[in-house]
Symmetry: C2
Subunit: 560 residues, 2 copies
């Protein structure tokens, strides 16, 4: 009988299930279900109360409704029986923070608390905790907290402590009622297994935890807010499991709801992006995975822990057990191109797309592909959504130079792609400068699949071949790989993640090879790009930060 | 009986006649006629031979056809008899260079020479002589030629000697056949009066001539090309007339073709833009006229001759007799906004314009007007078409910074307007720094008439009220004023241009007053703008020039 692992992939707008044959790696069936309430960023469903502009909530009932839809649908699509499923893995957006009771029930499921916005799960991209994040960063820098270096010197408003502090300060009664504050991936594993087994991936990348140092100290937390001093003991968990470990087994209740057999091993959760690493077949240092979607994420394994500026995080056991997982990022990749199609592409391009029945991206891509490197005469800094790596400065903004009266939309489109490629090159060079060599590049994500021009430009700019991950649903396949490892060889899976990744993950044949002449031209342009990057990004001329202040309605200080 | 002066205004696409009552300044009638061949930039009409991309020719027969159309039509529109016309003034684009026989017949009217592209009039914006202009600039700098300082250190490919040298080198036989090389305005006056009376305006701004030093020396011209040594004696004219002088009287033949009486005094020609100065009623130093069209032109009178970087020219008697006329310029004003509407405005804006039956500019302007200064968070350098004043560098290119994922088209539109306003402020401050104070601002031209938001932003950025010239056809009215002066008081006109301008020119009531709070905000942003201006424009980072080279298909030298 075919043996399959089930990967459950919980994204921003929808959840996906995939069944992967653990021997052949074949994706035998999958299903997707969009969350009924999607991203709740306008009004609270219960009361219609308007939400502030930087808010983003989700409804945990949507997660269960999605589960009940996708698991049976994937089984039907695969035409296999539930008996064939040997293990389950889970990936989830993070830090999507759910305040729950001690038994895991989300507070917002309580009819009384449902009217309280802070009782709801805060989606990863909820940015209401920006002031709290800034205070965390300031205090940590003042106190010389060692954890800061693991995150490139700056933590994010999207992470656990900022969100927890936001709840504590804005709704202390909700904070009190929350017996657990838990990442949604860990919550889902708890729902499936009845056991709270928190993941080193979520704890390490999003909750300032490390294997050797644990969470931030009680002193630090107390200095932040007196009542935060006890958050670790009261609301978090101190036993943290490496990715690849077994969290528990499917409870009879959950099995009944999903149409599966009870007792199936369930793996520790992983952040959605990070799940793509095993799906790429990567199981050793030197192979960087680029996850190219609305934003860009760069993951690399290392044997040692190093801290340097520009890291979003380095976490032991956070991606693959036994390795340090390094993460870097660019806050706008696909979003940058989407901005252009929305705000700066004239009607005739849209008309052509409509006439030919293709996307506006296709029209721009075809025209941009006819240009040689440098021919557009443009250079851009891809900071439309700020900079994460390597400058870690959310207040930077985009730059576009070299415009002429002849500049056309496809030239801007190409310049924007080149800008993100240069940004990736800066990240790769930053890793290498700090003792983390990058020998091979892998890519996955919506943009990697849909935009071959972008892939070729990345290969040309970086001067390295880029392998594209075979699966079009890499995160879900990565989750399934973790399911196969949770099962172990005794359960029909694998004992080592390395072996599961080799059997079930992998890349397409071919890939994208750099053109030496294009690489040479791009290296000259990259020199120009770097000079602009340092001029605008490293304080020589802080005009971009001042323009952001003007935009926000604050007149910047002279000379600030 | 009403006494009227006739202004003849020859623009790039069409010619216009206006009849102005010399006592009241009332515009009693006008007419416009588009040139049949317009701008010839695609193929030579006679042979269909394709023209190089930077070429722009015109057909002199179009000028006569236009004349024969507009003069009778203006008389009809005014419902006055030909007897009422007491003087004629002429303005024309420049340097629009016509190679002619000794009697003024354009070479291209010869059936044999009609097939030779270089026998045709080269319109002001013909840019085929760029290599020649560069050699003129290099040689003049090497030899320390004094004329260079009057033009801010750089002469243009649009001017007479560059175009003459282009003909000489590309078509020496045509150069030999050309017994005169003459600016079209002077040619038209010659056609009307039978007398070649060249204007200090055209000679001074476009042919490197000055009242005290004459044309470039024979030695300089010989060093440029041996056969150019004798161009002044052979093909130009050395008797140069101030603007405001009488060139001659309408010949019987011309009078018959136009339906006017012979003997009407005709004034010396003036460049079209410069004719707007008397139309504004300006007759003294300290009042700067902004001519805002596709490009921007800044004219100011002075009592002394000063030379400083950023001038396009300073010419004694070139605008008003007895004054030095200073000119500065911005190569893209309306063109910058037109670029955006063409290349970077999404369909919904165009749809709204179509639905409401208004222009796309109106839609953008309305939305941009709702923004406070600085609120768009953007800053631009308006160098899409290079920089004329104050950097005199055609190889610069545009810059746009501060972009975010929320940036909308109307924000870019406003930033582009602000960029041209900051550029004008830099020009005004440059004049003042060099001893030419600017007390009052006047504006005319298509953009000044159609774009009140731009006018208000200019007033706010410059911190000065801006008066708008009363006439919507300022250049033509200026030409009519010169016609009234050509007539003199004995002929029913004026002896002094000052008096004619006061009676026949002037500004609208009201105008645009600066808002102090907006001016204050813009002064802070102007500081940011200036810093970028100097960084990208004064050699600190010559990346824009290198990007222009990339665009042109030339890989720039490292470090160049």
């Amino acid at each position: 009988m075919r043996r399959c692992a089930l990967g459950l992939d919980f994204g921003t707008e929808s959840a996906r299930a995939v069944l992967v044959d653990v021997t052949t790696g074949e994706e035998v069936g999958s299903a997707v279900h969009a969350y009924e309430s999607g991203v709740i960023d306008d009004r609270l469903p219960e009361t219609g109360e308007p939400l502030p502009p930087d808010w983003a909530l989700q409804d945990p009932d949507d997660y269960w409704r999605a589960l009940e839809a996708i698991v049976p649908a994937a089984l039907r699509a695969a035409a296999i029986s539930a008996e064939a499923v040997i293990g389950i893995g889970v990936d989830f957006t993070a830090c999507t923070l759910i305040p729950t009771r001690a038994d895991g029930t989300p507070l917002c499921c309580d009819p009384e608390l449902r009217k309280q916005p802070h009782a709801w799960p805060k989606l990863w991209k909820h940015h209401g905790a920006q002031p709290q994040a800034e205070r965390i960063n300031r205090l940590a820098a003042e106190r010389g907290e060692r954890f800061l270096a693991r995150y490139g010197g700056k933590t994010s408003s999207e992470w656990l402590f900022a969100k927890a502090l936001e709840i504590l300060e804005a709704a202390p009664a909700i904070y009190d009622r929350a017996e657990r504050l838990i990442d949604a991936g860990d919550w889902l594993v708890w729902q499936l297994t009845g056991r709270e087994a928190r993941s080193a991936c979520q704890a390490g990348y999003k909750a300032l935890w490390s294997r050797t140092e644990g969470y931030p100290s009680r002193e630090f937390l107390a200095a932040l807010h007196p009542r935060l001093a006890t958050i670790v003991e009261e609301k978090l968990a101190t036993e943290i499991y490496p990715v690849g470990a077994r969290a528990g087994e499917l409870t009879p209740a959950a099995a009944a709801r999903l149409g599966l057999r009870p007792g199936i091993p369930v793996g520790v959760a992983i952040i959605d992006a990070h799940a793509a690493v095993p799906a790429a077949g990567i199981a050793e240092p030197g192979k960087m995975l680029l996850i190219l979607g609305t934003s860009g994420c760069h993951l690399l394994l290392g044997r040692e822990e190093r801290s340097f500026p520009g890291l979003c995080g380095v976490v032991q056991d956070g991606i693959l057990p036994g390795f340090f997982g390094y993460e870097a990022g660019q806050p706008a990749t696909g979003d940058l191109l989407a901005w252009q199609t929305r705000a700066a592409v004239p009607p005739e391009y849209h008309d052509e797309a409509a006439r030919r029945g293709v996307s506006i991206y296709r029209v721009l891509e075809e025209r941009a592909a006819a240009l040689r490197p440098g021919e557009c005469g443009l250079l851009a800094l891809d900071w439309w959504n700020g900079n994460r790596s390597i400058l870690m400065d959310a207040d930077l903004a985009g730059v576009l130079i070299g415009l002429t009266l002849e500049t056309r939309a496809e030239e801007i489109y190409r310049a924007l792609i080149e800008a993100t490629a240069f940004g990736t090159r800066a990240i790769v060079e930053n890793f290498e400068r700090h003792g983390c060599p990058v020998q091979e590049l892998y890519a996955c994500g919506g943009i990697a699949e849909k935009n071959p021009l972008l892939m070729q430009i990345y290969a040309d700019v970086l001067g390295r071949p880029i392998h594209r991950v075979r699966s079009g649903q890499a995160c879900a396949v990565g989750a399934a790989i973790l399911g196969a490892v949770a099962a172990g060889s005794a359960g029909g899976g694998y004992d080592r993640l390395l072996d599961a990744a080799a059997a079930m993950g992998g890349v397409e044949a071919g890939g994208f090879s750099p053109d030496p002449a294009a690489h040479d031209r791009y290296t000259a342009l990259y020199g120009e790009w770097l000079r602009l990057h340092d001029y605008f990004g490293r304080g020589e001329n802080p005009v971009l930060k001042r323009l952001r202040a003007w935009r926000a309605g604050r007149r910047p200080e002279e000379g600030s």
